[in-house]
Symmetry: C2
Subunit: 153 residues, 2 copies
C-alpha cells in the first residue's frame, strides 16, 4: 500500500471515512473506565439528564474519530503525531446504534522551516451520524513527513 506523505494532501480537499457502529455496550464500557457519569453509564439514569438518554462520553467520540481516521488514512501516512487540538465541539449526543463517519477537510498546509523532512497539515474533522447530523467537530494540526528525495510516490 502506498504511503501518504505531506505532499499527498491538498488544501481544500475533503474525504469521508468510516462508518463505525457505536454500540450501547461500548458506550457503557468506555464510561465505566473513563467517564463514569450517569448519562454515559446507564440508560435509565440517563433519561433524567440533559442528554435525555444514554449517550457516549465526548472523549469516547474523540477516540472513535481517531480510530476512524487511523483506519482511513493516518495509519498509512508518514504521521509524526500532533501537538494538540485547537477546538473540540460536542454538538449532538452520540447514541447507541449510531453509525459514525468522519469528514476530513485539509484546511491548511505548512512546510516546516526548521525541519525539511516534515510539514504540518491542519485538518477540520467533522463527525457525522447516519442522519447526516454533525455530532462533533475538531480542528487539529498534524505533523506529517515529507516524501523523501528520489521517492516517486
Amino acid at each position: 500500500m502506498t504511503q501518504l506523505f505531506w505532499e499527498d494532501f491538498v488544501e481544500g480537499s475533503v474525504a469521508d471515512y468510516g462508518p463505525r457502529l457505536v454500540t450501547s455496550e461500548e458506550i457503557v464500557a468506555f464510561a465505566a473506565q473513563f467517564d463514569p457519569q450517569p448519562m454515559h453509564l446507564d440508560a435509565e439514569a440517563a433519561r433524567a439528564t440533559m442528554l435525555g438518554g444514554l449517550a457516549a462520553s465526548g472523549w469516547h467520540t474523540c477516540a472513535l474519530m481517531m480510530r476512524i481516521i487511523v483506519d482511513g488514512f493516518l495509519g498509512r501516512s508518514a504521521s509524526m503525531g500532533s501537538a494538540g487540538v485547537e477546538e473540540v465541539r460536542w454538538l449532538k449526543p452520540v447514541r447507541p446504534g449510531d453509525l459514525l463517519t468522519v469528514r476530513a477537510t485539509v484546511l491548511e498546509k505548512r512546510a516546516s522551516n526548521r525541519r525539511p523532512d516534515r510539514g504540518s497539515i491542519k485538518f477540520l474533522m467533522e463527525v457525522l451520524n447516519q442522519s447526516g447530523d454533525v455530532v462533533m467537530t475538531l480542528r487539529s494540526p498534524l505533523m506529517i513527513g515529507r516524501r523523501p528525495a528520489g521517492d516517486a510516490g
Copy 2:
C-alpha cells in the same frame, strides 16, 4: 456527600486530583482499540518514532484526565456536561509507569442569562506526571447546576 453546585467554585481557585498510575498494558489496550499507531502499540516499534518509546495516545491522556476529575469532584457536582474544549496541548509523552495528577484552575464563571438554574465554569486542566512535568493542558467550559433556592449547601 455534599453535592457541589456552581456557587461552590471560586474564580482563581486551584485544586489537585489523582494520582492515577498509567500502565504499559492499558496504553497498548487503548491504542489497539482507538489509536493503533506504532508509538502507542509496541515498545520496540515505538523506539523508532518521534516519541522515542512507548507513549499513551493523546486521547488516552484526555480520557484519564476525565476519569481523574470525575473521581475528584465532577462526579459529585451538579455537572450538566460540556459543549466542547477550547484547546488541548500535548506537551510531553505519557509513559508506562507515570503517575498522573490533574491541577484544575477555575478560570472564569458565568451565570446563564437564559437558564437561571445553571452557570458555566471555564477550567484550565493541567495534567502532571510524577516529576512535575506538565504533560497536557486543556481549557474547557463546563455547565454546572446552581444551588436550588432553600438548599443551604
